[in-house]
């Protein structure tokens, strides 16, 4: 990629001795009252890889993300996020992008994007200066000082993604990032994210119910079952995406073949 990388600064090496393990789930179980959302979930994610998690809705996919981020505590098993196993430690490693953009309506697009820097104690002036250049790169030039209600759905999601990136965490958790968009905008955003993620040396965990989206955006796809959610199969995607458009990728024979096995696993 060009020199204008959106990789920001490297969030730093993880504390554990083994640098290659990003996230490891071992026998993770989570129940809400009598409802078992996840049971016996075990898999590993290499550091700086991109993983898609697909499965039927209500299968505990979002719960898995919240567990990873340390927003929830598991009832059984262990979750190791770059050496951190306690919830607060996990929280310090992860930034989450929710399905709804959740932009604060009283802040401009720029002020929304820089909020994580502010939270870390960076002076507003410096946070502004550091965040502003990314707007052009994200196709948001001239919209820095506009309030979210004046942005289109796709632009709002891009601001939301930028806000997640500016947290400078090593792990990005994307929870149905385009679930609220119409299908055309969704396709455009997938294509955009595919390029944007190419620049980012981060571990990305993408939850979606859209198999196409998972195959397009990740290197590995984890298929989960309906409640209680467990891992059904892990697919190695490894599609060639460089220089290809979304249309070319999703209509290639390899893609169709992978899609078929993914859909079969979900059933």
């Amino acid at each position: 990629m060009g020199e204008q990388s959106i990789g920001l600064t490297d969030p730093g090496a993880p504390g554990s001795a083994d640098d290659s393990v990003g996230i490891a789930f071992t026998g993770v179980r989570k129940a809400f009252g009598d409802v078992v959302a996840l049971d016996g979930v075990t898999f590993q994610i290499e550091r700086h890889s991109r993983i898609g998690i697909v499965g039927p809705s209500g299968g505990g996919k979002s719960t898995l993300l919240q567990l990873t981020a340390g927003l929830l505590e598991q009832d059984g098993g262990t979750i190791n996020v770059e050496g951190e196993t306690a919830t607060l430690g996990r929280l310090s490693r992860c930034a989450m992008m929710p399905q709804r953009d959740l932009l604060l309506p009283w802040r401009t697009a720029l002020e929304n994007a820089m909020i994580a820097m502010e939270n870390r104690g960076v002076a507003k002036k410096d946070a502004r200066a550091k965040t502003r250049p990314f707007f052009e790169h994200f196709g948001l030039a001239k919209f820095e000082d506009v309030r979210p209600d004046q942005l289109s759905g796709g632009m709002r999601q891009r601001v939301s993604f930028l806000r997640t990136l500016m947290a400078e965490k090593d792990i990005l958790l994307l929870d149905e990032p385009f679930g609220a968009l119409d299908s055309i905008t969704r396709g455009q955003m997938q294509e955009w994210l595919l390029r944007a993620l190419g620049d980012v040396p981060r571990t990305v965990l993408l939850v979606t119910h859209d198999v196409d989206e998972a195959l397009l955006l990740s290197r590995t796809v984890v298929v989960m079952s309906a409640r209680p959610g467990r891992v059904v199969t892990v697919l190695d995607v490894g599609l060639e995406t460089d220089g290809l458009s979304r249309r070319e990728i999703v209509t290639s024979p390899e893609f169709i073949e992978l899609k078929e096995s993914a859909l079969e696993a979900i059933e």
Partner: protein, 281 residues
């Protein structure tokens, strides 16, 4: 520059509500919002005037609109103006105190859950005490001056502000709070950047309700014991059957309430520019 910019602008990027859509002029928007109410009000006044003319209602029984206007002119400098200022200051000082205390208490109760559990039910329970009966007690306690009236106004205005403020703070979407936590926000940052601004519209609606109560509180306070104010003027004018003067004083009381309501709405527009509301004053 990267040759592979992630996104070129597309039709989807068109800003949704920039200045493209033409907005009607302020005057025509005002007329749309309040035109019918103004016409209806004028019609009522005309009917009122006609009623008195046709049925020869004596003016000590019921003042006519023109009689009230005449009283406003005749009684302004001797009766109305000297009594307007005490009531206005009672209302403004009492209201200001209730805003500071009400918003402050809402924040403290929100941030300290055990305190909320201890205080909130008692706060609700205290509202079953009619403030009217407290007025004489407060006069005995605090004397005939400004203070008991200010306290009554503040007590009446306090409740809607606390309740609306607390609701606004509690009803902030949990997803926002989770999002902020993954973005390294402290409890205080979540309060300052998400919960408080999110609760502002709710706090302002509590203030609007309180604004309509404030003048009532001042009148109760004056009736319990005073020698000035619009409430006192109404009380003093009753034995003399100065009906037009009483109505003029009532008109001024409603104007105080409306002005306070308007002031709160104006402040909301300034402090919550992201809230779009159609037509509200």
């Amino acid at each position: 520059m990267s040759t592979q910019a992630p996104e070129q602008s597309s039709a989807e990027d068109a800003p949704v509500a920039m200045s493209a859509r033409k907005r009607p002029s302020a005057w025509s928007r005002f007329w749309r919002a309040y035109g019918l109410a103004i016409l209806f009000g004028v019609a009522m006044l005309v009917l009122w005037q006609l009623w008195i003319k046709v049925f020869h209602v004596p003016k000590y029984l019921l003042a006519s609109p023109t009689g009230i206007i005449a009283s406003l002119q005749k009684d302004w400098s001797k009766y109305l103006a000297p009594n307007l200022w005490p009531t206005l200051s009672e209302v403004l000082i009492g209201f200001a105190i209730s805003v500071v205390a009400g918003v402050g208490l809402a924040i403290v109760l929100h941030l300290f859950t055990p305190l909320r559990r201890a205080v909130y039910p008692i706060l609700i329970g205290s509202q079953t005490i009619p403030i009217v009966v407290l007025a004489p007690v407060l006069v005995i306690l605090l004397g005939y001056g400004l203070l008991p009236k200010v306290v009554i106004v503040a007590l009446i205005c306090f409740f809607p502000i606390v309740v609306n403020g607390l609701d606004g703070l509690r009803l902030v979407d949990d997803d926002f709070i989770r999002m902020m936590r993954t973005l390294d926000a402290s409890r205080w940052a979540i309060f300052r950047k998400v919960e408080f601004p999110g609760a502002l519209p709710s706090i302002f609606s509590g203030m609007r309700v309180a604004a309509t109560f404030a003048a009532i509180g001042a009148v109760f306070g004056e009736w319990a014991g005073s020698s000035q104010g619009l409430g006192y003027l109404i009380q003093a004018s009753t034995p003399n059957l100065q009906t037009a003067r009483i109505f003029a004083a009532i008109l001024l009381l409603t104007l105080i309430a409306m002005a306070l309501f308007g002031l709160v709405s104006l402040l909301e527009r300034i402090f919550c520019p992201w809230v779009s509301r159609g037509g509200a004053l």
